[in-house]
């Protein structure tokens, strides 16, 4: 067996201790820098406020993902939990300096793209609204591109089929376009739009004539209007005069007012007269009552008179019987 060579002693290094210490220092610095940078990157040194987003499904949401505003990340998901109602509560930590972009009226959406992760976005429409309070709870609106695709494809298919029907050679649209072309040609013709509207030249001529006559009529109407203007001026004067007559110092209205005052006096007098009449009527009522009693007495008097008369009749009958000129009233039968 060959003898093994001696291991070479390492050549001495100048300032070995210093260099080794420098290496140790470098190591410590690197580690401290890495830890500090990672803590900074994770937002450990930021003062944050919380925002709770409530979604019916937290699929695609992971802790640490960003919430963006106008494409800029302004917060990150800190925690996801299940609420007692069964909804997902996504707690987003927003640095205080970025929280000014969120207002009380801000809207939050959660979008599932075809490629890539789910995105949480914030939209602030009215920047003058009060700022979003710490710990605010908002419902997140969900948009799912993948779920929309089948519906969209169905709609597009229907649209394409409708378009095919519309653009077919027998389609009404084709005929309409053809008619439109004819109409356009006639529009460019000598009679222009009137020709298109009326269809034939005779009617167009009639319309022209009617227009001319209308113009003449309008000129005459102008004269009439001028006359009416004069009349109106005169009527104005008349009205002013009537005004003076009615509302002037010696007009109808002041006189009427005086008459009304007099009428008031008259009415007072009439009221007094009526009161007197009332008293007379009361007395008349008393007279009536007396009369009624007298009438009752008259009844008994009449009874007595009746009885006397009957006695007188009986007396007359007696006298008649006893009287020699008594007629024989008896009829004797043979």
């Amino acid at each position: 067996m060959a003898t093994e060579p001696e291991p070479d002693p390492a050549p001495p290094v100048a300032h070995l201790e210093l260099k080794a210490r420098l290496l140790l220092l470098l190591m410590v610095l690197l580690m401290a820098a890495a830890v500090a940078y990672l803590m900074y990157a994770r937002g450990a040194f930021e003062r944050t406020q919380e925002l709770v987003l409530v979604a019916d499904d937290s699929e695609g949401i992971v802790v640490g993902m960003d919430m963006t505003f106008s494409g800029f990340p302004i917060g990150r998901v800190g925690r996801i939990e299940l609420s007692p109602e069964g909804n997902a509560r996504i707690i987003v930590n927003i640095p205080r300096r970025d929280a000014r972009w969120l207002r009380a009226s801000s809207v939050f959406t959660m979008e599932n793209g075809l490629v890539g992760s789910t995105k949480i976005r914030a939209f602030s429409g009215v920047m003058t609204d009060p700022p979003l309070p710490d710990g605010a709870e908002r419902k997140v609106l969900r948009g799912d591109a993948a779920a929309e695709i089948p519906r969209m494809v169905a709609s597009v298919r229907e649209l394409v089929s409708n378009l095919s029907t519309l653009t077919g050679s027998e389609a009404p649209l084709n005929a309409t376009l053809h008619n439109l072309q004819t109409a356009a040609e006639r529009l460019n013709g000598p009679r222009g739009a009137l020709g298109v509207l009326l269809g034939n030249e005779t009617d167009a001529k009639k319309i022209t004539l009617a227009l001319e006559r209308t113009n003449a009529l309008l000129a005459r109407l102008d004269g009439l209007v001028l006359k009416a203007d004069g009349i109106a001026t005169r009527t104005d004067g008349l009205v002013a005069h009537a005004d003076a007559q009615v509302f002037g110092a010696s007009g109808v209205v002041p006189e009427t007012r005086a008459t009304v005052v007099q009428l008031n006096g008259l009415l007072a007098d009439a009221r007094n007269s009526l009161k007197k009449v009332d008293a007379v009527l009361v007395e008349a009522q008393a007279i009536g009552a007396n009369t009624r009693e007298a009438t009752a007495d008259l009844g008994s008097l009449r009874g007595e008179v009746d009885a006397s008369l009957r006695k007188v009749e009986q007396l007359v009958n007696e006298i008649n019987r006893k009287w020699p000129f008594k007629r024989d009233t008896e009829i004797r039968l043979p």
Binding site: E4, A10, A20, V63, R76
Partner: protein, 268 residues
Amino acid sequence: MVDARQPMQGGSGPWLRAVLQWMASWWGVLDFGSQMLVLALSPSSYRRSQRKVMYRQLYAATAPQLAAFVVIAAVVSLVIIRIVVATAASYGLSRYALDVLVRTLVLELLPLLVALFVALRYTLPGAQEVALLRSQGRLRELWRAGGDPARDELLPRVVAGVFAVALLAALGCLLALVLTYLTVYGFTAWAFASYTRTVGQVFNPAVTLIFAFKALFFSLIVAIVPMAPDPLHSGDATRRRRDNIGLLGRVFALTLLVEVFSLIGNYY
């Protein structure tokens, strides 16, 4: 303990003997590793008298490798960054390039590169020296003279290996992060905030912890496994070269195992 130096005999159970040898060899590694860990955690190992040898090994493990490693790491990083950025751009997925780069380059590839680099440049040659000292009986002489070969010869090499892996990994990751930023954004400071945000999103607490543990295990594997006494070692030069290749394979297999576990931890 099985005497692994016995030539293998044919007969009833050659495979059994092989399995026992394999287990004995791993047991040796575990035994040595625990001894080294205990020594490394003992304050007495860092007495003033130990410092000189400790410093010498720390320096030998890192300083000569530093320049070469920075160049290799920069070239590898640049190539990978360029490939990823160009591929992402061609698919219109540029915004995911940063995330992919930080995950593949900083979290996975560079620590692996550092582990293999330190193993090849420092711990495997160091292991060869230690094997030579063993075979020449110098460790035994040291022991007889009242020294502690484990503390005076082996521990400084192990600590230096761990330190080298940690330092070079930190340096490589920093380099990769800077190069990624410069390649993607160019020489401007305006994208720093969004870049930091992306890095922060990748390095969530779980990933950071797994990354730290991975770096620690890589450094332990690279520093301890080659130094462990190998029962198969016979002192023969040809045999020793074969052993070196075996050791490298062992280191590589273990680092890959740790890598697989870290991937499982990160992505499952």
